[in-house]
């Protein structure tokens, strides 16, 4: 009997480990959020896509709830996301773009082709701001409240149904 209990030991150890792995699984997706949520939008100083001479910084987000979308011409998913962003802009949501790891010419071409829902586009060719934001890739979207605090983080493509179901309710919540 004692030997049999001993033989069950590996199984018990494994079950314990898988319990933790399961917990880890449900923990982690929120990890990256919690690192940014309720924090101020990171400080930056970059030119805009529209005008190489104009310099913008984090004060851009003072006074109004803003949806910050990280995109790039090189990102095919961003193209699919544009209709959703355009419809959000039509409904009065203020949008600011971050043109991430791109060239000016390509970025402008992209907006001409797919429409421009953004009030202004921060030009981030080296990905410095993206790094501060902890962006893994594009598209990623952040909701910043009128005090410049990040309130919501959407990783990946905003699906058509996300507009009504998640993004708009979040925007209204912080307005």
């Amino acid at each position: 009997m004692k030997r049999r209990l001993l033989l069950l030991l590996p199984l018990a150890g494994f079950l314990l480990l898988s319990g933790f792995l399961y917990l880890g699984l449900s923990l982690d997706p929120f990890h990256r959020d919690s690192a940014l949520l309720a924090r101020e939008f990171p400080a930056f100083e970059l030119s805009t896509l529209e005008d190489p001479e104009a310099v913008v910084d984090e004060s851009l987000f003072q006074g109004e709830v803003t949806l910050v979308n990280v995109w790039g011409e090189w990102c095919p998913t961003c193209k699919q996301e544009m209709p959703q962003l355009l419809s959000l802009a039509e409904r009065g949501v203020r949008l600011v773009g971050v043109d991430y790891k791109d060239t000016r010419a390509k970025g402008r071409e992209f907006l001409e082709e797919f429409g421009n829902p953004f009030e202004v586009n921060i030009f981030d060719p080296e990905g410095d701001l993206g790094f501060e934001l902890g962006v893994y890739g594009a598209p990623e979207t952040f909701l910043v409240d009128s005090d410049g605090i990040i309130r919501y983080h959407h990783t990946g493509y905003i699906k058509p149904e996300d507009v009504e179901q998640t993004i708009l309710p979040e925007v209204r919540k912080w307005q």
Binding site: S18, L21, L25, P76, D102
Partner: protein, 665 residues
């Protein structure tokens, strides 16, 4: 218009493969349990069919890459029309979906190989082994189809061009590193299947070990090469000259290797002496479980790592379920059935049996240490105790001393005898070699390096302590045989495999010790015309140019290097590339490799006015790291071609009672 349908055809082939895998799992296992030959006969044809269809699906995905079909999401996200063809070919496994498909392909391949090379196995054994592999395969194919379909389309808006393959992966090392690694991971499924089959059938004898050993050796050799390639790639591609970072994903590959190493030795004892049976079976389960755990850690994104592909919780949950079912069930089978195959063979504490047991325990301790360090951040986080990361300090403080202790026993092992031997005899055999290892190890750094270093000496003593007793043992064996040629002929290939494998460990240890302590590194500012001296070499920047590659722009420096006091010189050409499609900068290191030292030049940032930050390193003996790994792998392969695995085995039928008899090896 057939080419337009390639992704759908591939997807369909994968579905058929899944069905075949399912039948390959269910019918033979049920047949073996109820003794129905017809059901058991499903095993081989289904294995062949599954392999065929997975190969076909894999070729379909490759074709989509080659034909630049950007309507396939996988291709659009990981390829580009400018990408050279060989990278398109390898880009297939440079992403999550494709690499899981490669995993399945290899599993199907190993299964097929087992079904072909198992003519001499009893039918019920074959059925159970293939059945278990079919279960694993069913799980993985389901995983591919349900959560990670590589053939998913981006319709209707098809991108004009792809996002390009991550530049880090556009490299020869990365073409071959994942396949080698996966061959190892997946290869352990064979010995795992053999272990489960043995538990189910109640048969675990010397014949069983002889069937399982070659597969284990080959898988282990692949994994060894795979890990070495990964380390080599990190060394020249990541641009800072490190070769091991204790990154969770690196650990994930090291874990099954450590457990697999223990398994190799435990199998040897089980074959020769018929002992440690339960332990061997447990190690077989553990080794493959750790392969699966590695897959889980990489794919689920529960741990942050440079290798993580996808951060998708549904995938993580699926793999966890897969892991839970596979490992949980097999450990349950183990707990219920292990007593039936257990069998105690007496041995003295002064014997090779005992030494190998200690080796096993040590290797398991090392495995657990690395495992704990890898999942510890996760455990703390799950318990709400905060976020930490466990880095090299933890691993180095525990891994190094444990390895040294392991080396002490590695030196003793090959010189010891099975069953029992007197302590005096062992001392007689080893004293001279031990003394020589101590003296040479302590003095060599002084004579060669000029500067004494404790860690280098420790490494050298450990390495020599492994090698010298083996050399002595070799001479002993030759002397006993009379003439050298007769003596060499009498030594089996398995013996040479062992010698080569242990020699490999020694070589790697020397490499680690020397390169970790004698590396010279300088970060300097270089403009054209400037020169700098590092470790007795003069580096002069002659020229700086820009050029355009197939899918990148590059700044290239031409650096003339000459050894002090020598008139001969050579040019090293480091490069800073900007990959156009991803806008991603990459460092292309210039290397001057040598058996005793590497020179390493990497470009940092542009400092303006034509000056660049340069990282110049002198890395002695760094090649020995990987050379040792190659020797280990060669040893593993050499042992497989040993005569005794090729001899026609006695036919054994399934009607035989479970036997525990000894077969002289």
């Amino acid at each position: 218009m057939l080419t337009k349908m390639i992704p759908e055809i591939g997807h369909f082939a994968l579905v058929i493969a899944l069905l075949m895998a399912f039948f390959q799992a269910v019918m033979p296992l049920a047949g073996a349990a109820t003794r129905r030959p017809l059901w058991m006969a499903f095993a081989r044809p289904m294995a062949a069919g599954q392999f065929l269809f997975v190969v076909f699906a894999y070729l379909c995905l490759t074709a989509s890459y080659m034909l630049d079909d950007f309507s396939v999401a996988n291709v659009a996200n990981n390829s580009n029309s400018m990408l050279p063809w060989y990278y398109k070919f390898s880009a297939v496994w440079g992403n999550h979906e494709g690499s899981v498909l490669l995993w399945s392909l290899m599993l199907a391949g190993w299964t097929f190989a087992v079904s072909r090379f198992s003519r001499n196995l009893p039918e019920d054994m074959v059925s159970r082994v293939l059945g278990v592999m079919g279960m694993v395969s069913t799980g993985f194919l389901l995983f591919v189809l349900v959560t990670s379909n590589p053939f998913a389309r981006l319709l209707p808006s098809v991108p004009q061009d792809g996002a390009d393959l991550n530049p880090l992966l556009q490299d020869f090392g990365l073409i071959i590193h994942p396949p080698m690694l996966y061959m190892g991971y997946v290869g352990f499924s064979v010995v795992f299947a053999f272990a489960i089959a043995a538990l189910l059938g109640g048969r675990l004898d010397a014949a069983w070990t002889r069937w399982a050993r070659p597969w284990t050796n080959i898988a282990w050799a692949f994994l060894t090469v795979g890990i070495a390639l990964g380390s080599w790639w990190a060394y020249y591609e990541l641009g800072w000259g490190g070769w091991w970072f204790w990154d969770p994903v690196e650990n994930a590959s090291l874990l099954p290797w450590l457990a697999g190493t223990a398994l190799l030795h435990s199998l040897a004892v089980t074959e020769k002496r018929g002992s440690f049976k339960s332990w061997t079976v447990l190690l077989a389960i553990l080794t493959f479980s750790l392969s699966l755990l590695g897959t889980f850690l990489v794919r689920s994104g529960v741990l942050t790592s440079v290798h993580a592909f996808a951060n998708d919780p549904s995938r993580g949950l699926f793999i966890l379920a897969l892991l839970g079912i596979t490992v949980g069930l097999s450990l349950l089978v183990f707990a219920l059935r292990a007593p039936r195959v257990g069998h105690v063979v007496p041995f003295s504490w002064m014997s090779r049996d005992a030494l190998l047991l200690i080796n096993n325990i040590l290797l398991v301790i090392v495995t657990v240490t690395v495992l704990l360090g890898t999942v510890y951040p996760l455990l703390l986080d799950a318990l709400g105790l905060g976020k930490i990361s466990v880095g090299p300090p933890y691993f180095n403080t525990l891994f190094v001393p444990l390895t040294v202790i392991l080396c002490v026993f590695m030196g003793l092992g090959p010189s010891s005898r099975w069953k029992r031997m007197s302590a005096r005899e062992l001392f007689r055999r080893l004293s001279l070699a031990g003394l020589a290892a101590l003296v040479i190890g302590i003095l060599a750094p002084l004579v060669v390096g000029g500067e004494w270093n404790l860690w280098v000496s420790l490494g050298l003593v450990a390495a020599l302590w492994i090698v010298l007793p083996m050399v002595r043992d070799l001479f002993d064996k030759i002397r006993q045989a009379g003439s050298p040629s007769a003596g060499l002929r009498r030594l089996s290939l398995a013996y040479w495999g062992m010698v080569l494998g242990h020699l490999g460990v020694a070589v790697t240890i020397i490499g680690v010790a020397v390169v970790s302590n004698y590396t010279v590194e300088r970060n300097v500012r270089l403009a054209p015309g400037d020169s700098v001296e590092v470790a007795g070499y003069t580096f002069t920047m002659n020229d700086l140019r820009s050029r355009r590659g197939p899918n990148y722009l590059a700044d290239t420096a031409f650096i003339e290097v000459s050894r002090d006091g020598s008139s001969r010189s050579f040019t090293m050409v480091p490069e800073k590339r900007l990959y156009i499609a991803r806008g991603m900068p990459m460092t292309q290191v210039a290397l001057r490799p040598g058996l005793f030292r590497d020179l390493y030049v990497a470009m940092g940032e542009d400092l303006g006015d034509g000056a660049w930050a340069m990282r110049i390193q002198f890395k002695p003996f760094v090649r020995w790291l990987w050379l040792g790994a190659l020797l280990m792998a060669a040893g593993g392969i050499l042992a497989v071609v040993d005569r005794r695995y090729r001899l026609k085995r006695q036919p054994q039928t399934s009607q035989q009672a479970p036997s525990t008899r000894e077969v002289p090896a």
